[in-house]
Symmetry: C2
Subunit: 361 residues, 2 copies
């Protein structure tokens, strides 16, 4: 089904966090309705549409009613259970599809897929046992990073191993098995690309952002980043190859490490959804990542990714948003997520600092 869905169609969104909320806001701008499915009654996305289902992701009667109520289904998080995805996909188009979820839910699948796609990744070894880990450390050297293959985000589910003596403790600490050992990459900086593909096979990607993390959580994304045009082109090509190889439909976030010298990069990870490092697009691009995702999901042509100004996106984490009024000022465009409780490490909002004009269109 590749006819464009008309305005007035309903987009089902699995997940009710800030990404689901911003997708629903973008859908509204295209004249579409949104229906949010989320188990948490306090979901921020529930505040921006009257259509909601509060139920567990394995509640098949709720899922069936949800599928009946919508025209197409997407999601705001990559850990949608495989059974949920299958159940939905049997009833309504699920975009991005089940393959994208399978690849991104498992670091080993992901690295295997990326390697087969001809995209460079850090050296890695699958770890099923402590013996595997010791052998892998001998090959890849220390330091190295041991990670769970599933359900890791924002620095959770990983340990740096600085010497082989730490191997057993790290192996025991991380669950569930199997794990993956990644060679330590002495990278200069991290960048990311937000790419999109629609069902017609059209692809677009935004310029790379340069990302800075604090306490393993994204703090700022700056565009343009301090990288060469050649490297930006390389990142864009890799991103395009990834969405094409997956027959992907929707927006994907692709994180890269830039290697010392600034001429080469590795893919760190991919996320089959709109991405925190793409929040800058809402402030300075003709089409933002949220609208781009909705366009892909409803079979519309992809939008123009042209950027009209320089920008720095800054996440507001924990209590940083409490004094939002003090953060406002020239060039500042705020976006708060409507979350009630400011827990440490919780993303409460972001601001975009819009700077000088870019030189050319």
């Amino acid at each position: 089904m590749t006819d464009p869905l008309p305005p007035g169609s309903t987009i089902g969104i699995l997940g009710g966090g800030q990404l689901g909320r911003m997708l629903a806001l973008a859908a509204a701008r295209l004249g579409m309705k949104s229906h949010i499915f989320c188990p948490d009654v306090a979901s921020p996305a529930f505040e921006v549409t009257p259509h909601r289902t509060i139920a567990a992701y394995d509640d098949e009667s709720a899922l069936a009613a949800f599928a009946d109520a919508v025209d197409v289904v997407t999601y705001e998080f990559e850990n949608v259970p495989a059974r949920t995805a299958e159940f939905i996909a049997a009833r309504k188009p699920l975009r991005p599809g089940a393959r994208a979820l399978a690849v991104s839910q498992d670091r080993l699948e992901e690295k295997g897929f990326l390697s087969e796609s001809g995209v460079p990744v850090a050296p890695y070894r699958p770890i099923y046992s402590l013996d595997d880990l010791e052998a892998a450390l001998a090959e890849l050297g220390t330091p190295a990073v041991l990670k769970t293959t599933r359900l890791g985000y924002d620095g959770k589910g990983q340990r740096i191993i600085r010497s082989i003596n730490e191997a057993a403790a790290a192996f025991d600490a991380l669950e569930p098995k199997p794990l993956v050992l990644e060679g330590f990459i002495a990278f200069d900086k991290e960048i990311s690309v937000i790419a999109a593909r629609n069902a017609q096979g059209e692809t677009r990607h935004f310029e790379p952002s340069e990302n800075v993390h604090r306490d393993h959580i994204l703090k700022t994304s700056t565009v343009p980043g301090n990288i060469s045009p050649a490297l930006a082109a390389k990142a864009g090509k890799a991103a395009q190859r990834i969405v094409e190889t997956l027959d992907y439909v929707g927006v994907m976030g692709i994180e890269f490490f830039v290697l010392p010298g600034g001429e080469d990069l590795l893919v760190n990870e991919i996320a089959p959804r709109v991405h925190n490092s793409g929040h800058w697009t809402e402030a300075v691009c003709v089409t933002d990542q949220f609208e781009q995702h909705i366009r892909a999901v409803v079979n519309w042509p992809l939008g123009d990714v042209t950027r009209t100004a320089n920008v720095v996106m800054e996440n507001l984490i924990g209590h940083e948003a409490d004094s939002i009024v003090d953060l406002l000022g020239p060039g500042v465009r705020p976006h708060l997520y409507g979350k009630i409780e400011a827990r440490p490490g919780r993303k409460m909002g972001h601001i975009n600092r819009i700077g000088l004009k870019t030189g050319a269109k």
Copy 2:
């Protein structure tokens, strides 16, 4: 009360059309909730928040419950009944206030207010009788425009009188009385300014747009318009004087006629709300008119009105939005209002065509 309302506060919005809908979307970006009050069950704004009241504007029990449920009240249309405004204002802050409504609901009040504020308006006469009209036509000459004083918009409620023979028929056709006769202005073009003031007395205004109407309905707004910097400054100063004189809180749309030669202007009319000719701001300004209005209403500092690119906003009227996909392309940012039925003359959405960069920040 001039403390900033915190995120999580609820903004009550009287009116559920596209302006209320876009206000609610902007409120959501500031972490605010919206509660829409509208008699029409099919209101577009009902699709972007779970909080709604479906009731008549004179239903006092519904109004009381609505006032209890919100922290501040604003509106999307200037014809809020005076009794409704008073009822609300006795319970919760109403922004803009009752005076702004009184002035803008009555062309005679409006022209009187503008004249007293030292802002130029077209020559006009109040018309209570046919005798008044014949005397006024003798003074102001023909052609002249006879208008109702209340409830006119998009060209409704007015007649052009080309000769004194047409006076009686025009007088009889227009209701309710009194009427107002305006001298015919041979203007070069129409521009408008979106101005804002908050309760602290801070004021800001966006650059003027040049507006083109078709069948008495706004068709395009272009920024920058083809006007001199001196005229733009004159328009901005007049707009600022108007919001200051009214002790206004919120965003106001001010329409001007540019006189032949391009050096002088008259105020045509003012609207105490976000305005169709300000829809361009969402595509190219740091802060758009909808966020600016919400900021003023919740006592936040006003936002940066800097523009990052040139733009043409085009209304999609009646069936023009049916083929929205065909209107997309480079530089195009669409916004549809989620209306189900495309009646002739009905505003269904708009597109912003984002063009070349502006030269300076």
